[in-house]
């Protein structure tokens, strides 16, 4: 029985249909085929015999709808040849893919031969059973104070950067990639980089940055650039994550996945949805955008009994800097926090321009404190947030009534705010601070406030840390 169905599958997958019935955007419609399966892999050949891969998006008694990843330009109806492969799209994966450059489908684009695959894996992945997950709790030191101190990155976390056009998200992502380490551990790490619809110079920037820090051999790049067919972006992160899963769970490596720009990915999704005449939800994006993004973002984390991990650092540019736009909004509902950029900080020359308040790391709570970072870390972070949030209120007030009218206490808060932004948040793109330096800087800032104002730290912490460091720099030095 099994043999028979295997045989049948083989026969059907070698069948080739010549001519298609309709072509619309990246979609091809074919009638009168054998019954084809949903999400089956499709091979399309144009007049010249060039191969293009696609997948079945809708299948019925009458017609199969195929989405062609390399786009349909150059295809014609009578001469296009199509065959259905009887199984979903797979990617051949191996550790040898590190150090290489691929297109979105995982085909080499660096001129080299395709590395020999150790196995073929369905690019769509399968949902992880929650009982098999290991809750992530290892602190990753990025050397960036505003992240380590206040929005701590944890190994296995999915932590996106919500940015805007022209803001230094690439610089920050590259800096994190260069500096990230779990202290006290020499580990086998890899970087998987997925580019969706970004310009050549962005890809170049990352490659150069990997090269100059000598890690290029540890990086696999999947590039679907701005001038590649937009539909290829749909598959790019899936290829990248498929390799990442192999590296993490078969090879035991700690994998950092950088995906940029998720906004381009979502736009491609909208394009297809519109073409198919689906009922849109907000701003024309399909109702399943949430589930679709979750299929990507949830492919991260750690598994019980496995050495490796997948940490995701997706980058998305918020259209109009609007955090309530569906792309950042739905991402925020799925990811485990977010690093939010603020244009105003950027204009004031601060790097990284991370907005203090809307940024959040949800996994931080289990990865910081005694034995992990330092015992005062949880309270210190909470206190910094509280104080900085009050600073924002005071600044608003000052803009109405004028700074002179503020109370002495409010003035102290303003000083704290300045110090916090210029000394704590602000740092150089190559500055790698230890967690102790970061936390001490936090206390320095807090020491500009009266101790009675610090409700979120304990007496002992005040005893140990408050004022001590600032005393060494009496000028307060702004």
């Amino acid at each position: 029985m099994a043999d028979q169905s295997e045989l049948k599958k083989k026969l059907l997958s070698s069948r080739e249909y010549v001519g298609v019935d309709q072509i619309e955007g990246p979609l091809v419609f074919i009638k009168n085929t054998h019954p084809v399966g949903y999400r089956e892999l499709v091979e399309c050949r144009d007049r010249q015999g060039n191969l293009r891969l696609g997948t079945v998006m809708d299948t019925s008694d009458d017609v199969a709808v195929v989405q062609v990843f390399s786009g349909t330009s150059g295809l014609n109806m009578p001469e296009t040849r199509v065959s259905f492969k009887g199984e979903p799209q797979t990617l051949g994966v191996s550790k040898k893919m590190l150090g290489r450059v691929f297109n979105g489908l995982g085909q080499p684009r660096d001129g080299g031969a395709a590395p020999r695959a150790v196995k073929q894996v369905d690019v769509n992945g399968r949902p992880v059973n929650p009982v098999a997950r290991e809750y992530p709790r290892d602190f990753i030191q990025t050397g960036i104070s505003v992240i380590d101190g206040m929005n701590t990155l944890i190994r296995g976390q999915k932590l996106p950067i919500f940015s805007g056009n022209g803001l230094p998200h690439n610089e920050l992502a590259a800096q994190i990639t260069r500096q990230a380490k779990v202290r006290g551990q020499e580990t086998d790490f890899a970087v998987v980089f997925a580019a969706m619809g970004v310009k050549h110079d962005v890809a170049r920037y990352f490659i150069d940055s990997f090269e100059s820090s000598g890690v290029l051999e540890k990086v696999a790049l999947f590039l679907s650039l701005a001038d590649d067919p937009s539909i290829e972006r749909i598959i790019t992160p899936r290829s990248a994550l498929t390799l990442a899963e192999h590296l993490a769970f078969d090879e035991g490596m700690h994998v950092l996945v950088v995906m940029t720009d998720m906004a381009n990915y979502c736009e491609s999704l909208r394009e297809i949805s519109t073409l198919r005449g689906e009922i849109p939800s907000r701003k024309g994006y399909p109702g399943y955008l949430y589930s679709d993004l979750a299929e990507l973002y949830e492919r991260s984390g750690m598994l019980k009994g496995f050495k490796g991990s997948i940490t995701q650092l997706p980058i998305l540019t918020m259209p109009n800097d609007d955090i309530s736009h569906p792309i950042p909004d739905l991402s925020g509902y799925i990811t485990e926090g977010q690093i939010v950029f603020e244009r105003d900080m950027h204009s004031r020359g601060l790097y990284p321009p991370v907005a203090g308040l809307p940024s959040l790391s949800r996994l931080m709570k289990d990865g910081i404190g005694e034995g992990m970072t330092r015992e005062d870390h949880p309270h210190l972070a909470s206190q910094l947030f509280a104080a900085y949030s009050y600073v924002k209120d005071v600044r608003n007030l000052a803009s109405v009534i004028g700074e002179e009218e503020l109370t002495p206490l409010d003035h102290q808060y303003l000083d704290f705010g300045e110090y916090f932004e210029k000394k704590f948040v602000n740092q150089r793109t190559n500055e790698d601070r230890s967690i102790e330096q970061t936390l001490d800087l936090g206390w320095e800032a807090l020491s500009l406030l009266p101790a009675e104002e610090l409700h979120r730290v304990t007496e002992e912490e005040i005893e140990t840390y408050y004022g001590t460091v600032a005393a060494k720099t009496p000028e307060g030095g702004i």
């Binding site: 909004d329 509280a386 009218e405």
Partner: protein, 591 residues
């Protein structure tokens, strides 16, 4: 189960199938699709065609594939062994799926919802010849050290016991009683398991008025916006404002007997977190592990979307079943928006006419039906039981005017609106005190006054009034600065600040602060109000606000939530006395 070919696939569009050549399929019948036997449900019938939603990934399904009917509606199995288990949206135990397919969930897996091998110590409560009616308890097993599982006659059945098993250890499928029903001669064998279709509410004897609070241990909730046992509440909030944390906190510390927690379209790690944490946590009232009273349903955001739609019903049916045994059950659904979106997606795939924002026109009906399954009931077995529903809502862009929040608001009587500003300032729980409300206040006030303290309602009213006043004062401050206000008004702001820091903010990660007993809440509020009332007096006598603020005891008040444990209420007496003394001294200076 009688398997028969009920039709064949004619179209596959994501999780929705169209089927042709339908012979005798039933509405809501559970079906199996293709040779992999993917689980699905009939959701529309029209002539010889049907629409089927599939609870698993439909990759590979092709037109022509067989559809096998099961002859039964999509149901859950109810019996001993539910407690402490984690299920997927259609009640497959995830631990067993893990054994079958490993770290990544495979397809076409089936596994009994309840352990069939496990033996239970059964104590019968009926004898041969007894007359029994629906819902009557015929025997018990100790399901976990804290939950006695009461085996009931299934709804709709009554008759005479012709055989009854003696006390002993049995598996769930063993017949424990044979019944001769009143209405048919055909005998019915009862085991410890019954099944119930998930989309139909289980019947009970009578609805009762609500009068007992569900004490959650979260101060802003219990003191300001209380929920009643059998009540319903929505927690709307943008991403990261604290819906999940609030629900986890309630699941851990509320005084329900049983918790059903549904992770509906949310993160995998959050379920793992519960799985790691709950077994370790000890319930203060019983001294037992929290997992012994908890059932988890997990359809994470990357699991198939139709199972997300079903997960809500699976959860509530299990909750009703324990309610019928006479338990107080609290059910958390995180997030009902994902469920509504699943409805939208399925509706879209069926090409139905959308109403607002693409949601189907029947969305409000579905929401209402779900929340109506809450309530405080007299059960058929003559006990009292309740189901309280705590539903998270995830409004797009954090905007509460969107359809799911708006419709939910119509059908719940309590509303805990999460405030982005508060969350950003890391004021947790970020439940805004101006937008939130509870309609259960009058229902449960007698309970508080009787069990905790007679001043409760009055104290609560007073602090809320201050919070309202503070908003108006803050508006003035924003225009002209704080110096323009007289000390008496600045003191209102001062007391509200203390109240927010010392009382409303509650740290879920602190061993002492994570929950507060009703008594602790009442005492804390009393102390803050003492500061308000006597401080106000002092100001009238000429004491400056700066002097009041500098009192050393104030630091202790702000940290009392962290320093005074639940079981040491005596320490509040000492603190209050100290406050009185400090105020006396201040007062004395000014005479």
């Amino acid at each position: 189960m009688n398997e028969r070919i009920a039709g064949r696939v004619s179209r596959v569009n994501g999780p929705v199938l169209e089927a042709a050549d339908i012979t005798d399929a039933l509405m809501t019948e559970m079906v199996f699709v293709g040779e992999e036997r993917l689980v699905g449900e009939v959701i529309k019938l029209n002539g010889n065609r049907a629409v089927i939603q599939v609870y698993e990934d439909t990759t590979g399904i092709a037109p022509g594939d067989n559809i096998y009917g099961s002859g039964e509606s999509l149901s859950v199995a109810l019996g001993p062994g539910l407690m402490g288990t984690i299920y997927d949206g259609i009640q497959r135990p995830l631990e067993n799926l893990f054994e079958l397919s490993g770290e990544f969930i495979g397809k076409g897996l089936s596994f009994s919802a309840l352990n069939k091998e496990r033996e239970w110590e059964y104590t019968p409560l009926v004898r041969e010849g007894d007359r029994v009616k629906e819902g009557q308890i015929i025997g018990t097993v100790q399901e976990t050290p804290r939950i006695e599982h009461r085996i009931m006659v299934p709804p709709g059945l009554a008759g005479t016991v012709t055989e009854a098993a003696a006390a002993g250890t049995y598996t769930i499928d063993r017949v424990i009683a044979v019944l001769e029903p009143d209405d048919t001669p055909e005998k019915r064998e009862l085991t410890m398991v019954q099944s119930w279709p998930i989309r139909r509410p289980r019947p009970t004897a009578e609805r009762r008025p609500l009068s007992i609070p569900l004490v959650t241990g979260q101060r802003v909730i219990d003191t300001l916006f209380p929920l009643a046992k059998g009540g319903t509440v929505a927690i709307p909030g943008g991403f990261g404002t604290g819906k999940t944390m609030t629900q986890h906190a309630i699941a851990k510390w509320c005084d329900a007997d049983i918790i059903v927690y549904i992770g509906c379209g949310e993160r995998g790690n959050e379920m793992t977190d519960v799985l790691n944490e709950f077994p370790e946590l000890i319930d203060p009232s019983t001294g037992r592990s929290l997992m012994e009273r908890t059932i988890l349903i997990a359809n994470t955001s990357n699991m198939p979307v139709s199972a997300r739609e079903a997960s809500i019903y699976t959860g509530i049916t299990i909750a009703e079943y324990y309610r019928d045994q006479g338990y107080h059950v609290a059910i958390m659904a995180d997030s009902t928006s994902r469920w509504a979106e699943a409805l939208r997606e399925l509706s879209g795939r069926m090409e139905e006419m959308p109403a607002e924002e693409g949601f189907p026109a029947y969305l409000p009906t579905r929401i209402a039906e779900f929340y109506e399954r809450a309530g405080y009931m007299e059960t058929f077995c003559g006990k009292e039981g309740s189901v309280s529903i705590i539903g998270a809502v995830s409004p797009p862009g954090g905007d509460f005017s969107e359809p799911v929040t708006q419709h939910t608001r119509r059908f719940v009587r309590c509303f805990w609106g999460l405030d982005r500003q508060l969350a950003n300032a890391r004021h947790y729980p970020a439940i805004g005190w101006l937008d939130s409300y509870s309609e259960y206040l009058t229902d449960i006030t007698p309970w508080w006054e009787e069990k905790v303290g007679p001043a409760w309602a009055e104290d609560r009213r007073e602090i809320l009034e201050l919070l309202q006043k503070e908003v108006r004062l803050q508006q003035i401050v924003k225009l002209v600065g704080p110096d323009a206000l007289p000390d008496s008004q600045r003191f209102v702001i001062e007391v509200c600040t203390v109240f927010k820091n010392a009382f409303l903010q509650q740290n879920a990660f602190d061993d002492i602060d994570r929950y507060s007993t009703a008594e602790k809440q009442m005492r804390m509020l009393g102390i803050i109000l003492c500061y308000w009332r006597r401080g106000n007096e002092a100001i009238r006598k000429g004491v400056t606000i700066v002097k009041l603020r500098r009192m050393k005891v104030l630091q202790e008040i702000i940290k009392m939530k962290l320093t005074i444990p639940n079981d040491k209420p005596g320490q509040f007496d000492r603190l209050e006395a100290k406050l009185e003394r400090s105020l006396d001294r201040l007062g004395a200076i000014y005479g």
